[in-house]
Structures are given as structure tokens and as C-alpha cells.
């Protein structure tokens, strides 16, 4: 076999490999400095493997497979395992950092006024650096302070107005109150260090107050002490510093919590009830969608597949319109049509039916929309299956005097079901996690009251998980969400395994 001597292809290969290596050399030190060792190692190993494969003249098969596998491992396999890990942690809002960083943040956020009178201050801009500076009056006279330091100004530099305000400062431009208001946000954490762990912090548009760090961390005892009250905070088992009285300091850190997330959804009534309800609905919903769409699709295929109907093609083209329309958009259109006060459905029916806010009606609405969206697919595959049926069997049955219904139920249906079984199972698995169908129509709602506002009557597992993790203002509990995902993984994998067994994919593997 001749080795490729194609010059542009070789050049492209060298450029791509070069870019990859440059990227790795650039990114790995940064990854290490951010303590993300796992990615650093993965990048280095992957790059070495790719270099080896593509610079070797043999290793032909890996050239085609390994790049895809490397991406697959990083963005599909790793997240699956990581879900398993996160399920055993308290990852959530307020527990997002590692312990070291969290304690740093705690301590550096803990500024408290030491109780001295505020000092008069005027905001100014340094004429040479154009940076903000604070002109502060203390017992010894005028000083200039910034984030970098604090130093006395020569007394002649400051010109006061008649009412005692600072009017001019040599080398600085004094800002008007309006100008200061415009940049007020900059002063949120603006602190001027004056030594001895004390700082001036802006407390008013014309005043600064003396603050000091109020918390101190003792790494040996692993305790945080409140310097003003003497309260001692120790770590609890949920990644927070807690006082004896139970008071917590924000933020906490990420830590493993064992089976707590799982025991929460199994033992805690507030989570178990909604989860069981969501789980049951997920199974029922996916089952009903497959059954109803398959039934309607098959019926339409049987009815419209008559050789005497010249308009078959037209029907077929029009019937698959819902399948061709992007499902996100059609679901949203349906949501508008179901609108209680103004939706077209209620206008036709002439009464304000709460389609999306009544538990049962919302379930019905979700199913109806999926019947609309899913039937074309079933119609297509059923038509294909019917057309491929052998006419001999059917004719033989007809000769033997079978009624049309018998021909359908004893011959056509079993044969069609046998052909389509793998597709029906795949459809079940798809609907089991069809997030958009639920979330875009009802948002999972209406809310199940006992669930603390998170789970809804039409939520399926995947939308429930999404809401636990990402719904605004409801906790952002990634640990718990991952525990629920974990269940979802197991269920979806079981369905797939069943499906593979059914379709005998594995035995056919050649």
C-alpha cells in the first residue's frame, strides 16, 4: 500500500497537530494553577496519544476513531461519572468553592466597623494615572488613599472652600457629587489599607469609616473566630462554619455528604412524595405518548394507504408537516393556543378552561400536543412497514375466508409490531426524556403544593431535575439534582438494554 504523498493534506495535518500541541502547552499550566488537575492530565495524555497516532505511519484505524473517542470520553462519559460524584456532594449555591477558597472569602468579606467616628472624605482623580483616589481628613490633617496605600498630603496642597469642603488638591481633580454618584458601584469593596490590618471603607459619599477584619482562621484548630464577639465557628459535616448556637457563615464549601442526597429523596416526605409522583407520571406519560401516536399513526396509514386513493401522496406530505416544523416552536405555539383567557381553543369552545393550570387538564394538554407532534413519525414508519408486508400471507388468509378485521388483528398488526418494536422502544426512551415537550408547554406545572414549589403535576424526571438544579430562586441544589439524574440514568439505561436485547444488536455485531 502506498503512503499518501498528498502535500496539502500533509500540511493540514501538521498545522492541526501543531495547533493542538500549542493549545495544550498553553492551557495546561493554567489548568494546574487553577487546581483542575484532572483536566490538565487528560489534555496532556490525549495530546500525546494523538501525536503518536498521527505521526505514526501504521495505526490507521485509530486515526479515524481516537479523535471522536477523546471528545466522547471528556464530554459524555466523564459527565456521566461526574454526575455520580456530584450526587454524593453538597454542590449547591453557597457551596460552590473548595474549602480553602471559601475560608479566604469568609475572612476577607468579614470587614466590620471598629466603631470610630467617620472621617470626612472627598473623591478625586489622580491627574497622572487617572485613577480614583480618596482625599481623607484624619486627626493629623489631609491624606490621600487608594487600594494601594495611604499617605499624608503636604498641608499646602489642599485648598478648602468657605464651608470647609475640599475644593482643590494639587495633582488631583476633585469630583463633583454627581460624578461620584455615577461611579458609586466602584466603592462597594474599595478599601484603603492604613496598616495594622485596618482599612478605610467608603461609608457615604463624603465619608469613610475605619474597618477591620472581623474573622480570623486558625488552620491548626480548623476554626474561625469572630474577633469582636469571641464566638468560635467550627466546620460541620455539610461544608459550613457553624457556631455553637447554630449560626452559619457564608459561603460554605463543597464537600462529600455520603448518601444524604439519596436518603433525602427516599426518606424525606417533602422530596419522596413529589419524586414518586413525577416518576409515575414519567412512565405513564411516555407510555401513553407511544401508544396514542402509534395507534393513530397506524390507523391513518391503514386508512390512507388504499391503492384506489389517488391523493395518497398529498395526504402524506400534509400529514408530516408537524414533524417538519421545529418542535420547540410548535410547542410554544400550542402553549399560546391553550392560553386560558385568549387562546384559540377556549375561544372555539366558548369557555375559559384552565388547560395549563389544572393538574388533569394540563396532563391532557401535554398528551394532546405530543399526539399532534408524534403521530407523523408513527404514520411514516407504519406506512413503510405496511408496504413491506408480503401480500401472499394476506391473500392466503383472505382465500381462507378471514374477515378484514381478522386479517388486520391476526396478520397485519403482529407483523407490523414485529418490524417496528425496536423503533417503538426507542420512541419510549426518547419520550421518557423529552424535556422540551413538557418544559416549553407547561413548565412542568401546575405546582404540586407539597413539593415546596419545585415539582409540578406534568413534570417528568428530566424537567424535575432541571428545576432542582437551575430554577431561579429555588435552591440550585446540584447535588440533589444529580442524585435524581442518577435514577434517571438507571431507568433510561434499563430501557436501552431491553431495546438492544429485543433488536439483537449485540449478536449482530460483526
Amino acid at each position: 500500500m502506498k503512503i499518501g504523498t498528498n502535500a496539502p493534506a500533509l500540511l493540514l495535518k501538521i498545522m492541526l497537530l501543531g495547533a493542538l500541541n500549542a493549545f495544550t502547552v498553553w492551557s495546561v499550566p493554567i489548568l494546574i494553577s487553577n487546581n483542575t488537575w484532572i483536566f490538565a492530565i487528560y489534555f496532556v495524555v490525549s495530546t500525546l496519544i494523538l501525536d503518536f497516532i498521527f505521526l505514526s505511519k501504521r495505526r490507521i484505524a485509530p486515526k479515524y476513531i481516537v479523535p471522536g473517542v477523546i471528545l466522547l470520553l471528556m464530554f459524555q462519559v466523564y459527565p456521566a461519572f461526574f454526575t455520580g460524584y456530584v450526587a454524593f456532594t453538597n454542590y449547591s449555591n453557597g457551596h460552590f468553592l473548595d474549602k480553602e477558597t471559601a475560608i479566604d472569602v469568609m475572612v476577607s468579606n468579614s470587614f466590620a466597623p471598629v466603631g470610630a467616628e467617620p472621617n470626612y472624605m472627598q473623591v478625586a482623580r489622580d491627574n497622572t494615572t487617572q485613577k480614583i483616589a480618596l482625599i481623607i481628613q484624619d486627626a493629623n490633617g489631609f491624606n490621600v488613599g487608594s487600594r494601594d496605600g495611604y499617605s499624608a498630603l503636604p498641608s499646602g496642597d489642599v485648598t478648602l472652600s468657605s464651608d470647609g469642603r475640599i475644593e482643590k488638591v494639587t495633582g488631583y481633580t476633585v469630583l463633583s457629587d454627581d460624578e461620584v454618584f455615577a461611579i458609586l458601584d466602584e466603592f462597594n469593596d474599595y478599601k484603603v489599607p492604613i496598616g495594622n490590618d485596618r482599612f478605610y471603607s467608603v461609608s457615604d459619599i463624603n465619608a469613610v469609616e475605619l474597618v477591620a477584619q472581623n474573622l480570623s482562621y486558625d488552620p491548626i484548630k480548623d476554626q474561625v473566630t469572630d474577633l469582636s464577639t469571641g464566638t468560635i465557628y467550627s466546620p460541620n459535616n455539610n461544608g459550613s462554619m457553624v457556631s455553637a448556637a447554630g449560626e452559619e457563615i457564608e459561603p460554605g464549601w463543597t464537600t462529600t455528604v455520603g448518601w444524604r442526597n439519596f436518603s433525602k429523596v427516599i426518606n424525606d416526605e417533602r422530596y419522596r412524595q413529589p419524586l414518586l409522583q413525577v416518576l409515575a407520571w414519567t412512565f405513564i406519560y411516555a407510555g401513553l405518548v407511544v401508544l396514542s401516536t402509534f395507534f393513530l399513526g397506524l390507523m391513518l396509514a391503514l386508512v390512507l394507504n388504499h391503492p384506489r386513493m389517488k391523493s395518497r401522496k398529498i395526504y402524506r406530505t400534509l400529514l408530516i408537516v408537524p414533524y417538519a416544523m421545529p418542535s420547540v416552536l410548535s410547542t410554544l405555539v400550542w402553549a399560546g393556543m391553550f392560553n386560558v383567557d385568549n387562546g384559540v381553543i377556549n375561544k372555539i369552545l366558548g369557555s375559559p378552561i384552565p388547560w395549563l393550570s389544572d393538574p388533569w387538564l394540563a396532563k391532557f394538554a401535554v398528551l394532546l400536543v405530543q399526539l399532534w407532534a408524534g403521530t407523523p413519525y408513527m404514520f411514516l414508519i407504519a406506512t413503510g412497514a405496511i408496504q413491506s408486508l408480503s401480500t401472499e400471507t394476506i391473500e392466503a388468509a383472505q382465500v381462507d375466508g378471514a374477515s378484514p378485521f381478522q386479517v388486520f388483528s391476526k396478520i397485519k398488526l403482529p407483523l407490523v409490531l414485529m418490524t417496528l418494536a425496536p423503533l417503538l422502544i426507542a420512541s419510549y426512551a426518547y419520550n421518557f426524556s423529552n424535556f422540551g415537550a413538557i418544559y416549553l408547554l407547561t413548565g412542568g406545572g401546575p405546582t404540586i403544593i407539597s413539593s415546596g414549589g419545585i415539582a409540578g403535576h406534568t413534570d417528568i424526571l428530566i424537567s424535575y431535575t432541571y428545576k432542582i438544579a437551575f430554577a431561579a430562586g429555588k435552591g440550585n441544589d446540584y447535588g440533589l439534582a444529580s442524585a435524581v439524574s442518577f435514577f434517571n440514568f438507571i431507568l433510561v439505561a434499563s430501557i436501552s438494554i431491553y431495546s438492544f436485547k429485543k433488536s439483537r444488536t449485540i449478536e449482530n455485531m460483526t
Binding site: S311, N339, S485, T505
Partner: protein
């Protein structure tokens, strides 16, 4: 019954027609009405100048383009940017997914190497754990990675594209391998004898032969990405300028749905018509692609 008619091919008398065929048209018309109703309602709404859900009629009293103007002129919800983002992300993803799947499938179909069965098995198992279910983990992973690599941070289009590319092998490789298996190996054997390299065989012979299948896979990936909501919203999040149509249009059902129904319908119309035309155009191939799974596991 069906076959009788075929054999005879005699024109039906009106009575026969009424008894055997008419009701079929009845069912067909009813089904088509159900299928087309939302689409027609959406088209009607987008040209209705009253622009609100409550005032809408099937045939607008005074049709006009007000809704389109309002949709395109709203700086808080930059529709054209969303459309552009959707097209960029979907195209990049469709091409990457097709390419990654097609290359791996070539090796899995044509070469016999150590670990081949293992690879096939792994891909099969990985398919059971769709990315969708790991959205939370992907979010946390990117939150971490983004600190070091800006292109992989949350809110970045590139991050989304790379994440989707990671799922490519699981989606397409098996199906394409099945297709390649049906291309006779003699074709590449004889090319090999003539001195073609493996890359030449792949790019010059196999890929062109597979073009119809690859086109369908690319189209389905494109539509799939366009419709993807969960991972897209988790990764791109609240950044109004980088989100896709799917995520952006959802904002219209929050709150003032009634008042913004017209512009929403206009936006939905613009976005769905090209996809529908493309789909209808490739209809035949799409249908055979769909049923392929049933015959070849």
C-alpha cells in the same frame, strides 16, 4: 380486499366509491386539519396587525407586517442575533457530528484491529447515558474549565459546540457503520490495488458513495440542534446575545404572552419555514433514514 382492487383495476362505480373510498377522504381531511391547524393559526397570527392573542381571527381583518417590524426592531430581544447563533451552532454541530461519526464508522466497518469489538461495545453502552441527563454535571464541569480556558466557559458558543461534538460518536457511528457495511468491500480492495491510500479511499470513494445518507444525518443533526433546549440553555444561560432561537423564543411565553403573541408568531414563522422546506425536499431520504433502524439493528 386491497389486492382484489389492484387485480381488477376496474373503475369504481359512484356507489362503490362512496362505500369504499369516501370515508377514507373524510378521515384524511380530518387528520390534515388537525395537523395543519397550529401552523395556519401561527401564519394568521403573524400577519394580524392587532398583534394580540385575544383579538385574533383566523383571517385577519387588516393583514400587515407590523409584527415582523416589532420582532426585528426589539433591542432587548435581538431576534436576528438569536437566528444567527442558531444557524452557526446548528451548522457547526451538524457538520462536526456527521464528520466524527462518518470517520469512526469507516474504520469500524473496514478495518479489523484489536479493540474493535470493544470500541463498538463501548459506543453502544455510552449511548445509554445521554448527555441530556448529565446537564448538571456538564454545567459544573464548564464552570470549572472556564476559569482556565475562556473558550470553554459558560455562555460561550464554542463551549456548546465542543460539548455537542463530544456526543457525536454515540449518535451516528453505529448507524453509519451499518450503511458502510452495505457498500461492497471489492470497491475499496480494487482501489487499494491501484495504489490508493486509506485516506484517498475514504475521501474519494466511501464518502461520495455515502453522500445521501450523510446529507440526511447532517439535516437531522441540524434540526436536532436547532430544537435542543436543555443543554443549550444550561450552557448559554442568560446571555441575551449568545443564546439560540429555541432558548430566546421561550422568553415570549413568560408574562405578557398575550401582548407579544403577534411578534412571537412572526418569529416562529421565519424560523420554521426554511427548516420545513428543507425537510420536505429531503423527505424521501429522511423517511428511509428513519426506518433504517428497524431493519438493521
Amino acid at each position: 380486499m386491497i389486492t382484489e382492487d389492484i387485480l381488477k383495476q376496474k373503475p369504481l362505480t359512484p356507489v362503490q366509491w362512496a362505500r369504499k373510498i369516501a370515508w377514507r377522504h373524510g378521515v384524511g381531511v380530518a387528520a390534515v386539519s388537525f395537523a395543519l391547524f397550529p401552523l395556519i393559526w401561527m401564519i394568521s397570527a403573524s400577519f394580524d396587525t392587532l398583534g394580540s392573542l385575544s383579538a385574533q381571527k383566523l383571517i385577519p381583518d387588516n393583514p400587515g407586517l407590523d409584527n415582523f417590524r416589532e420582532l426585528l426592531g426589539n433591542p432587548d430581544q435581538p431576534y436576528l442575533k438569536w437566528l444567527r447563533n442558531s444557524i452557526i451552532i446548528s451548522s457547526a454541530n451538524a457538520i462536526l457530528q456527521m464528520f466524527i461519526g462518518a470517520t469512526a464508522a469507516y474504520a469500524l466497518s473496514r478495518f479489523r484491529f484489536k479493540g474493535r469489538k470493544l470500541t463498538l461495545m463501548t459506543i453502544l453502552v455510552v449511548q445509554m447515558f445521554p448527555q441530556l441527563l448529565a446537564a448538571t454535571a456538564i454545567f459544573l464541569m464548564l464552570a470549572d474549565l472556564g476559569k482556565s480556558i475562556p473558550a470553554l466557559a459558560l455562555g460561550q458558543t464554542t463551549a456548546l459546540i465542543i460539548v455537542f461534538a463530544g456526543g457525536a460518536l454515540g449518535i451516528n457511528a453505529w448507524m453509519l457503520k451499518g450503511f458502510y457495511d452495505t457498500i461492497p468491500a471489492e470497491i475499496d480492495e480494487s482501489a487499494k490495488v491501484d495504489g490508493a491510500s486509506h485516506a484517498q479511499i475514504y475521501f474519494r470513494i466511501i464518502l461520495p458513495l455515502a453522500r445521501p445518507v450523510l446529507a440526511v444525518i447532517t439535516l437531522l443533526s441540524f434540526i436536532g440542534t436547532m430544537n435542543e433546549f436543555l443543554i443549550t440553555s444550561v450552557i448559554l444561560g442568560g446571555n441575551q446575545n449568545s443564546i439560540t432561537l429555541a432558548v430566546g423564543m421561550q422568553q415570549y411565553i413568560d408574562g405578557q404572552y398575550n401582548a407579544r403573541w403577534g411578534p412571537f408568531a412572526a418569529g416562529a414563522l421565519i424560523a420554521s419555514v426554511p427548516v420545513m422546506i428543507l425537510f420536505m425536499y429531503l423527505q424521501k431520504h429522511v423517511v428511509s433514514g428513519l426506518t433504517a433502524g428497524a431493519n438493521k439493528g
